[in-house]
C-alpha cells in the first residue's frame, strides 16, 4: 500500500525512474558540498563565481516545477527529503518495450501515469523484443500485456479460419 505523502512533489517528465531520482539526490548532495565549500572558503572565492552551480536539466526542471530555489540550503534539504520519500514510497511500474526508446518517446506514457495513476509514479523500462510492438506493464501484483503479440494471439482464430479455408 502506498502511504499518502505529506508534501506532494511534482516530478517533471525528465525524471522518469529511480535512476533519475538517485541522480537528482546525488546532484543535491554535490550542490550541498559545493555550498559548504563556498562557506568555508568564502573569502577566497571571488564574487563573480559565487552563484554558479552545475545543475542538470532534470534537477533544474524539478526545482522550477515545484517553485524551489536550489541555492537555498533549507529548500535543498526539503527537496532531498521529499525525493527520499519518493524513492521509498512512489509506485514503480515496470514497462516492457520492444526496443530501446528515448525519454522523449516515453514522456506521454509517464505523463499519463502521473496524471491518472499517481503523481509520483516512477518507470522502470526493460526490453522485450519478442513483443514486437506496444508494451507490457507490470505493477506490484499484476501484469498487463498491451503488446502486438497479444493482439496477434487474440486475432489468431480469425487467421486460422482463413488458413483452414484455403
Amino acid at each position: 500500500m502506498v502511504p499518502e505523502q505529506t508534501v506532494t512533489l511534482r516530478l517533471p517528465s525528465s525524471i522518469m525512474g529511480i535512476n533519475e531520482v538517485n541522480q537528482a539526490l546525488r546532484e543535491i548532495d554535490l550542490i550541498e558540498d559545493q555550498a559548504m565549500q563556498r562557506r568555508i572558503y568564502q573569502a577566497e572565492i571571488s564574487s563573480s563565481t559565487a552563484g554558479v552551480l552545475s545543475v542538470s536539466n532534470s534537477l533544474s526542471e524539478l526545482a522550477a516545477s515545484n517553485g524551489l530555489d536550489l541555492d537555498d540550503g533549507a529548500m535543498r534539504s526539503k527537496l532531498k527529503g521529499i525525493l527520499g520519500d519518493v524513492k521509498k514510497h512512489a509506485p514503480v511500474i515496470h514497462v516492457g518495450l520492444a526496443r530501446e526508446s528515448t525519454n522523449a518517446e516515453l514522456m506521454p506514457i509517464v505523463d499519463w501515469m502521473r496524471s491518472n495513476l499517481h503523481p509520483n509514479t516512477l518507470l522502470h523500462v526493460g526490453l522485450q523484443p519478442d513483443i514486437i510492438g506496444g508494451c507490457t506493464i507490470r505493477t506490484p501484483n499484476r501484469y498487463y500485456d498491451f503488446s502486438l503479440k497479444r493482439h496477434f494471439e487474440t486475432a489468431r482464430i480469425a487467421l486460422l479460419t482463413k488458413i483452414k479455408a484455403l
Binding site: M1, V2, P91, I93, L97, A98, R99, S101, E105, L106, P108, I109, W112, M113, N116, L117, H118, T121, P129, D130, I132, G133, G134, C135, I137, T139, P140, N141, R142, Y144, F146, L148, K149, F152, E153, R156, L159, L160, I163, K164
Partner: protein, 192 residues
C-alpha cells in the same frame, strides 16, 4: 495294334503250313523215286525231272502267292497304320486343343485375378496416400496453429520491427492503459 499282330501271326502260320506241305511232297517224291531207281533209272530221271519241275512250279506259285499276300498285308498295314495314326493324331490334337483351351482359361483367370489384385492394391495405396496426405495436412495445420503467434510475430518483427515507432504506438498504449486504469490504481494502492 492287336489287329496288326493278328495279321502277322496269320501270315506266319500260312507260310509254315505251306512249307510243311512242300516238305511232305518233296519227301514222298524222293522216297518213291528211290524205290523205282533200281527198276528203271530212266523212268526215274523223267519222273524226277517232272517232280522237280512241279516242285519249282509249286514253289514259284507259292512264292507269288506269298508275295501277293505280303504286298496286301503291307498295303493293309499301311492303310491301317495311316488310319490309326490319323485317329491318334486327331485324338491328341483334340486333347491338345482342350488342354490349350484350359490353359488359356486358366491364364485368363490368373490375369483377371492379377488385374483385380492390382486394382485393389492401387485403390488401397491411393486411400493410404490420401490418408497420409490428410494426416500430414492436419499435422501441419496443427503445428501452424500451435506456433501461429510466434510465426506471425517473427514475420512482422522481421518485416516492420524497426519501423514501428513508439511515438506512433502511444495512442494505443494510452488507450489500453485507460481501459485498465481502475485495476492498476487498485493494485498500486492496495497491492504490495
Amino acid at each position: 495294334m492287336s489287329s496288326v499282330g493278328l495279321i502277322l501271326v496269320t501270315s506266319a502260320v500260312v507260310m509254315a503250313i505251306v512249307l510243311v506241305i512242300i516238305g511232305y511232297v518233296l519227301g514222298s517224291r524222293f522216297s518213291y523215286t528211290n524205290k523205282l531207281s533200281s527198276k528203271n533209272s530212266k523212268h526215274y530221271e523223267e519222273v524226277a525231272e517232272k517232280g522237280r519241275q512241279q516242285l519249282e512250279a509249286t514253289i514259284a506259285e507259292h512264292v507269288t502267292f506269298l508275295q501277293n499276300d505280303l504286298r496286301m498285308t503291307v498295303s493293309g498295314m499301311n492303310g491301317y497304320m495311316k488310319e490309326e495314326l490319323g485317329r491318334t493324331l486327331q485324338d491328341e490334337m483334340k486333347r491338345y486343343d482342350i488342354s490349350l483351351a484350359e490353359m488359356r482359361k486358366a491364364a485368363a483367370a490368373v490375369v483377371t485375378q492379377s488385374q483385380h489384385r492390382t486394382e485393389q492394391q492401387y485403390k488401397e495405396l491411393k486411400d493410404q496416400l490420401a490418408k497420409s496426405l490428410m494426416d500430414e495436412k492436419q499435422r501441419r495445420v496443427h503445428q501452424l496453429e500451435e506456433n501461429m503467434t510466434d510465426i506471425v510475430s517473427y514475420y512482422i518483427q522481421a518485416a516492420v520491427g524497426k519501423r514501428l515507432e513508439l511515438r506512433e504506438q502511444i495512442p494505443f498504449i494510452v488507450a489500453d492503459l485507460q481501459a485498465e486504469k481502475a485495476s492498476i490504481i487498485e493494485d498500486i494502492k492496495y497491492g504490495a
